[in-house]
Symmetry: C2
């Protein structure tokens, strides 16, 4: 269903996530998990309050420990950004100054264009308590903020990382969403299969006197076919419905299937042409 | 910047969030916060394990208590869904069956179309431990799953609610992202302002012998103008840059501004035509 689904092994050549003076190890662990959810691996910490490594981060990261093992720690933000060509700074507060303010979608598109060109990019996240200061934001190219309810705008740091990583992964295949699995194929069945079902149902109804008075039969058939055409049933769905019709037609509460019912009664129509047993026709 | 930004008071006529047998009060509180972040208010609980109300939910919901106060509790999922016309069920696992599998973007577009038509819709979330069972999913119209790293697909319930609420709010103004604030307007300045800066800079450089040998001056001017044209500077940015040029031109380490410097020296060019002080020209 997705477009040109490039092979995704769970690791993106995606943006670095840079946490400035993170305070709680639990949050670093939750950030690692959010990164792993969307395939990011480059986590950088600037002067974490409680040093590094951090046992609480490790305990919280369950399953995303491989992100923590690669963490790099820097003393200054400038060092953490030194190899990056494009950096966005996340903030929930409006700032004065000359920076563009982007949403996650536009920022992700910018980052994807850079990573596709082989450049390294990064996303800055501030301290839990008060975010990024203006000097830190001045080291970024653009500001990113989230389309939130202005009356309740507080996202925690792991949620902010989650949304950015999610949006970045979504840019992987252009506009398509790269889902881990797809549903069944709902291509409408060839017309002959639909008409086969019409015939089966109309015959079963006809012998029961459903169409009456006789002169109304054409209009009743038209309506029945219209109702059954509109959904655009697939081959599989028609197979299931024919099994349902067959069961209603051939069996009864008094004579259920498998208890000497007249399955070979010559008055009955043959079973659906498909050799497979109809799904759900247990 | 957003399109037809309808008045957003922080409450969306958006989907109901239905949690089936939620186990931990903390998660219910986090769900309330994620809903509040994106303006959803209709939270429904089906047979919460620890009953209702739940003190841990209340403690975790800080600031989003107004969502918890409106919570409705139902004994069965069918009752919780009774007034809804379109329901999606979130799951991380592939299911057999006849349901479409959508991503959050497509599901949100479907829900927005319904809510715009005045219908009520809902999103189903399963238990923390094992999600939704097949009978529960059968009560939904479509399945939603997230475009995650298949190797690390586990989103917690509050994260799943966060992503769905985020995507739904994003559909509010079509494709535009409704950000809580915008950056400055970066419309490029009228050409005359750019040329005014060229003149100022070229004059300042000329008197310093920058252009040499003289026959190379036209090419040097062309290059200088090309570099300064490409960014498409705005009026505000040009005002700042002219202040910078003016400072470099008129003052020196030995004779800084405000210490008897020759501000009125007739050999110097007049100050920029704008009456306003240049930003940053402190």
């Amino acid at each position: 269903m997705a477009g040109t689904n490039r092979n995704f092994d769970g690791i993106e050549e995606g943006p670095a996530v840079i946490l400035v003076e993170p305070q709680l190890g639990e949050n670093i662990g939750m950030v690692a998990r959010a990164m792993a959810n969307f395939g990011l691996i480059d986590l950088r910490l600037v002067a974490p309050r409680d040093g590094w490594p951090n046992q609480k981060a490790k305990a919280t990261a369950s399953g995303a420990g491989y992100v923590l093992e690669r963490v790099r720690v820097f003393e200054t933000l400038a060092e953490a950004l030194s190899d990056l060509t494009y950096v966005v700074a996340t903030t929930a507060r409006q700032r004065d100054g000359f920076k563009r303010v982007l949403g996650p979608v536009e920022a992700s598109a910018n980052m994807r264009a850079r990573t596709d060109a082989g450049q390294s990019v990064g996303i800055l996240f501030g301290r839990e308590r008060f975010g990024l200061d203006n000097a830190e934001i001045s080291l970024a190219d653009d500001i990113v903020t989230f389309p939130v309810n202005p009356a309740y705008a507080s996202l925690n740091i792991a949620q902010a990382v989650l949304l950015m990583a999610y949006e970045f992964l979504k840019t992987r295949d252009g506009q398509a969403e790269t889902l881990p699995f797809a549903g069944p194929d709902f291509a409408p069945a060839p017309r002959a299969e639909l008409v086969g079902m019409f015939d089966q149902l109309e015959t079963a109804l006809d012998v029961r006197g459903y169409f009456r008075p006789p002169e109304r039969k054409p209009a009743q058939v038209d309506n029945l076919r219209a109702v059954l055409s509109r959904p655009g049933f697939s081959t599989e769905e028609i197979r299931l419905l024919r099994g349902v019709i067959s069961s209603l037609d051939r069996f009864s509460p008094a004579r259920p299937r498998g208890e000497g019912s007249p399955q070979d009664d010559p008055r009955r129509r043959p079973a659906p042409p498909s050799g497979k047993k109809a799904a759900g026709d247990g």
